[in-house]
């Protein structure tokens, strides 16, 4: 016959101690976890300081995305200015790897902090982030920007 089972009493003691400890629960809809600055969730357009976008429609992000969940529909006008018809982003197939953001040479997109991405309707997962918008043209001091460069509907 072995000695007294002291181990299980230790275990029981810890259980009783835990009754009086603060819990470790974050009650989700009421309380939110702290999301770090770097957290990668859904892709979003990074607004510049004046609130406008900086996407130059270069399509580098399209090529960087391993799952092809970014798709840009672009119309190029005769003066070679670009117009973004749609900036499709499929949240359903995005795996938040952040490669598009790393690839973007113009700092136009970022990984957002919106983590409530579930939808009952799969169609809602596909977002048009920049609908019918002229592409950003970086102002060059040597050659002033033509104010009508963007909105070419032709």
């Amino acid at each position: 016959m072995r000695g007294l089972p002291t181990g299980i009493f230790k275990s029981l003691r810890i259980a009783f101690k835990n009754l009086f400890r603060p819990n470790m629960v974050i009650q989700y809809p009421k309380q939110r976890a702290i999301i770090p600055e770097r957290a990668r969730w859904a892709v979003e357009i990074k607004p510049a300081q004046d609130g406008s976008h900086r996407c130059q429609a270069c399509r580098i992000c399209e090529g960087a995305c391993p799952h092809h969940c970014i798709k840009l529909d672009i119309t190029t006008a005769e003066d070679r200015s670009k117009h973004i018809d749609h900036w499709w982003f499929d949240r359903g197939s995005c795996m938040m790897c952040g490669l598009c953001v790393e690839a973007c040479p113009f700092d136009a997109i970022r990984m957002g902090h919106d983590y409530e991405l579930a939808h009952a309707d799969p169609a809602l997962l596909v977002l048009d982030l920049l609908p019918d918008t002229p592409a950003y043209v970086r102002p060059k001091p040597a050659r002033p920007v033509d104010p009508n460069a963007g909105d070419t509907d032709a």
């Binding site: 016959m1 299980i8 275990s11 029981l12 810890i14 259980a15 009783f16 835990n18 009754l19 400890r21 603060p22 819990n23 470790m24 629960v25 009650q27």
Partner: protein
């Protein structure tokens, strides 16, 4: 006619008490386990999550009552009832007060344990009828456990019977009201009874029949809807009955030390229920923290340890009592 009405009334009260009690124990289980695990348990519905049970019961009632192919139809339907009814009947023998006892036979203790022993038969029927290997293994384990643990359970219950000289539960309570609680003179019996009660009610260190990590859900794997609800409820009813039996046998039942039983009045049931919930709380703390025994270790614990220990201890107690009586220090068995 009056007798008949009275019996019906008692049955009705019993069912209502069992339902309310089952509901409360489920809530208590969630809360106690939650806080012991540094969680919270239900919080959303009602004050402190108290109303969580209403949707739970609604869910059980509205779920599809499924009959898997090839089940033994009659037995499959009958098994939850076989499990449920004895748990309910055993309620009748617990004395809640001076007059508040539905059935008070001379061998009340034996009757109560006898009724509780029917439960494993229902569990076995459920497992057998389900035609599921996991359910069958669970059912076999349940029967094996019943064989191993009901002997030490009865032997452990002998100590209070010897001390009070009666197997009538009311008499045992009265005997304790006059002297001391029997947990003090027969602590080993109390501990062993506690262990065996855990086995009887399928609590975690001994939850062989259910063993959710191993057997999916054991005997109730194939059950759904209210048939499962009955099994679930009877588990908690058995929990309450066993705890109440421990409170009655070892913790003075509905009486308090130093208080005249005649003056307890309406406080009797309150005291008993409080003691019972204290025991259930201990059950839950054990349940939430311990590993499960393996089935052979579990049988070995019953046969090789608990039975010899209870036999030896009961014999020793009997000899001590006889000697004390001969010397004149103890005036029992009058």
């Amino acid at each position: 006619m009056a007798m008949w009405l009275k019996a019906l009334l008692f049955a009705l009260v019993g069912i209502v008490v069992m339902l309310v009690n089952g509901a409360f124990i489920i809530y208590m289980l969630r809360k106690v386990l939650g806080h012991a695990h540094l969680r919270l348990g239900p919080t959303e519905l009602g004050p402190a999550g108290l109303a969580q049970l209403i949707p739970d019961i609604l869910k059980l009632l509205t779920k599809e009552d499924r009959h898997p192919n090839q089940t033994d139809k009659w037995l499959y339907c009958l098994a939850p009832i076989i499990v449920f009814v004895p748990s309910l009947t055993a309620f009748a023998f617990i004395p809640y007060g001076e007059k508040l006892v539905a059935a008070n036979p001379n061998l009340g203790l034996l009757m109560m344990i006898a009724f509780l022993s029917v439960v494993p038969i229902g569990i076995f029927a459920a497992g057998w009828a389900s035609r599921n290997k996991y359910a069958l293994i669970g059912a076999m384990r349940s029967v094996g456990g019943a064989i191993s643990y009901e002997i030490p359970l009865l032997l452990a219950a002998l100590a209070p019977v010897m001390l009070s000289g009666s197997a009538n539960l009311s008499d045992i309570v009265h005997a304790q009201a006059g002297g001391i609680w029997y947990i003090l003179p027969c602590l080993p019996s109390a501990v062993i009874f506690f262990l065996c009660a855990q086995m009887e009610t399928n609590q975690t260190p001994f939850d062989m029949a259910e063993a959710e990590g191993e057997l999916v859900a054991g005997f109730s794997t194939e059950y759904s809807a209210m048939r499962f609800g009955f099994m679930y409820l009877s588990e908690f009813a058995g929990n309450f009955t066993m705890a109440a039996l421990i409170a009655t046998l070892f913790l003075g039942g509905w009486t308090l030390p130093g208080v005249d039983p005649a003056t307890m009045g309406v406080f009797g049931p309150v005291v008993l229920v409080l003691k019972t919930y204290l025991v259930i709380f201990c059950f839950m703390m054990v349940r939430g923290n311990f590993s499960r025994y393996r089935v052979d270790q579990y049988a070995a614990l019953g046969w090789k340890k608990l039975i010899p220990i209870t036999l030896g201890w009961t014999l020793l107690l009997a000899v001590i009592l006889k000697v004390l009586q001969m010397v004149g220090l103890w005036g029992g068995w009058s």
